[in-house]
């Protein structure tokens, strides 16, 4: 038995080592960091223990701006992308010819490098002295005024960020919802058709309840993902997100850790833990709501 035990632990050893060093230890350490006041990266010393780091972060205008940006991004993109994905999947499920072609195209953003394609979006939306840019050309065609979406007013920038985020997250949602819709029992529809049930009613009484677990799954993962938004913003506005006024909470954490404003792992830890608390709360609320409404 002892030999058997030993062998099993041997098989587990690599996984345990890596998880211990890069998951469990950092998890404990992040709490420690967040409580060490005045931590100095160079000398690795600190002069006190307490909640000062949290209070500093919560009073930092950059952090508040990042929280505001992140919340706006979440509130706009999560519902919008889920609803859009639902419509696209319903459309996909109602057609036969070309369905695979559409599915393949819709999936493309998933396999592209966020940073690289973000650059294309920047070029499309940017207005420079030499060129209005592609999107402004469209706006002008419809009689609108040109806006600089990359260096211009706050809401223009927020619009691009939301648009790009939705563009990036849709493939996953469409994929999940299309397969959920395909797995709804065809007999339910047949029975409903015999009873002459109107289409809208069939949708609200059969389709929606049957795919509700998947919708909630997407909403929950969508919230978690959107709260961690960062690389989309970097792709559009560059690495100095504070200057652009478009930083996100995760961006704030990394800026505190590294780069021109970096070297403060304690502030970074406190901000990361605040983010974790927010995400945890929202996820719990989501789970409670889904327990009440999801059909199993």
């Amino acid at each position: 038995m002892l030999k058997k035990n030993l062998k099993a632990w041997l098989y587990l050893l690599p996984a345990l080592l890596f998880l211990g060093a890069f998951m469990v230890y950092p998890l404990i350490d992040v709490f420690v960091y967040s409580l060490e006041e005045g931590y100095n990266s160079a000398s690795q010393t600190y002069h006190g223990v307490g909640l000062f780091n949290y209070s500093y972060v919560l009073h930092d205008p950059y952090f508040l701006q990042a929280v505001k940006n992140t919340f706006i991004l979440v509130i706009i993109t999560v519902p919008l992308s889920t609803i859009l994905a639902l419509f696209i999947s319903l459309g996909l499920n109602s057609i036969q010819p070309l369905r695979h072609a559409y599915q393949t195209i819709y999936f493309l953003p998933y396999v592209t490098n966020t940073l690289a394609v973000g650059l294309v979006f920047m070029v499309l939306f940017k207005k420079t002295p030499y060129s209005e840019g592609m999107v402004n050309l469209l706006i002008n065609w419809f009689g609108g005024q040109s806006v600089d979406f990359i260096d211009g007013p706050y809401w223009a920038k927020m619009f691009v960020l939301c648009f790009y985020t939705i563009w990036v997250v849709l493939p996953f949602k469409v994929l999940i919802l299309t397969s959920a819709l395909a797995s709804v029992d065809e007999n339910l529809y047949k029975a409903a058709r015999l009873d002459n049930t109107p289409k809208w009613r069939m949708f609200t009484r059969i389709t929606l309840p049957m795919i509700s677990p998947m919708i909630f799954y997407l909403v929950i993962t969508g919230f978690i993902g959107a709260f961690k938004a960062y690389s989309d913003a970097v792709a559009l506005f560059g690495t100095d997100l504070n200057a652009a006024g478009m930083n996100t909470i995760v961006g704030y954490v990394y800026d505190m850790l590294y780069g021109n404003s970096g070297g403060y792992p304690s502030f970074a830890s406190a901000a990361a833990l605040i983010l974790f608390a927010i995400v945890l709360t929202i996820t719990c609320i989501n789970l409670l709501i889904s327990k009440k409404h999801v059909h199993h």
Binding site: K4, N5, K7, A8, W9, Y11, L12, P14, A15, F18, F22, M23, V24, P26, L27, D29, V30, Y33, S41, F87, I88, G91, L92, S94, I95, Q103, I105, Y106, L108, P109, Y110, V111, N113, T114, L115, A116, V120, V123, L124, Y130, S131, L137, W167, P171, F172, L175, I224, G225, K228, Y230, S231, A235, G238, V250, V253, L257, Y258, P265, A272, F276
Partner: protein, 291 residues
């Protein structure tokens, strides 16, 4: 007679309604397809416009009659794009390979071996799945820095060679293989390791391929960790490489060359996806998330 025409009329009307419904559906689906494809078209188009021609366009042109490949030449000569590319290739292949070894061994232990505390350990593993990377990245950054592994491949690779989720996925798959096979192998005197190599891995090949594909996508697109851990362009991956190109590359803002670099970076994964379309999509719906 009157009744008959009414029926015909109703039928025609419903056919008409179904047809317009279909047409609207196709129209909207095509519209979204265009929105998805347009950035790809734009990057290809811009990458073959010459620098002079691009900058002379106040109103952007939707096509070009004189495509040029000079931008691709610039992209490879003016910035170390080939270097970023090779780095990413090495990073992706090594990370995926090492991770496979680690997770196969762990999944085998959980699926087939008996040891004290197995259930407790597995529960602990599962609870680790809820830990967001943002929380652990801070300490990992400090650890790697203190170990002097900044700007090394080891520093880039080590923190991402385990995944609790993939261990879980593979363990579930291993458990579906009939235990009789294992018993029979033991009777034959086949060792555990040989059994794992010769029986379990071949049977679980589809799941392993899924995991490999998902990991390759993840590695190719990873940005945060490479950016934190490298500041020497010799070790940049494509993500922070392109960011570097955007901020300091090509001397002046050379958008066509930038787009050429973007094309070069994007092509490998798109090709991989088009070849393994079904596997990628099945894999992502089983275990992928993004965003």
């Amino acid at each position: 007679m009157q009744m008959n025409t009414d029926y015909a009329k109703i039928e025609r009307r419903s056919l008409f309604r179904r047809r317009t419904g279909k047409a609207v559906t196709y129209f909207l689906l095509t519209l979204w397809a265009l929105i998805v494809l347009f950035p790809f078209y734009w990057m290809l188009l811009t990458s073959v416009k010459s620098y002079g021609a691009y900058n002379a366009e106040y109103v952007p042109a939707f096509f070009t009659l004189s495509p040029t490949f000079e931008n691709y030449h610039t992209a490879f000569t003016a910035v170390p794009l080939a270097r970023y590319f090779t780095n990413t290739l090495i990073f992706t292949l090594v990370t995926t390979a090492v991770m496979l070894v680690v997770i196969v061994l762990a999944a085998f232990a959980f699926a087939r071996l008996e040891f004290k505390g197995k259930n407790l350990l597995f529960t602990l593993f599962l609870s680790l799945m809820m830990i967001p990377t943002e929380l652990v990245v801070i300490t990992n950054f400090q650890t790697i820095t203190n170990l002097g592994m900044r700007n090394t491949f080891a520093g880039l690779i080590l923190p991402s060679v385990t995944s609790v989720f993939y261990i879980y996925l593979l363990k579930e798959n291993f458990e579906q293989i009939p235990e009789e096979l294992y018993k029979a192998a033991q009777v034959d005197g086949t060792g555990d390791f040989k059994y794992l190599l010769k029986v379990m891995i071949p049977i679980s090949q589809p799941t392993i391929v899924t995991i490999v594909i998902l990991k390759i996508i993840e590695c190719w697109n990873s940005y945060v960790w490479p950016r934190l851990i490298t500041d020497d362009p010799m070790y940049f991956l494509v993500s922070n490489g392109i960011q570097e190109i955007r901020e300091n590359g090509f001397g002046r803002e050379n958008i066509p060359a930038m787009m050429a670099a973007v094309v070069v970076i994007s092509v490998p994964l798109i090709v991989l996806f088009l070849i393994f379309r079904k596997k990628v999509m099945a894999g992502v719906s089983r275990g992928g998330t993004k965003g």
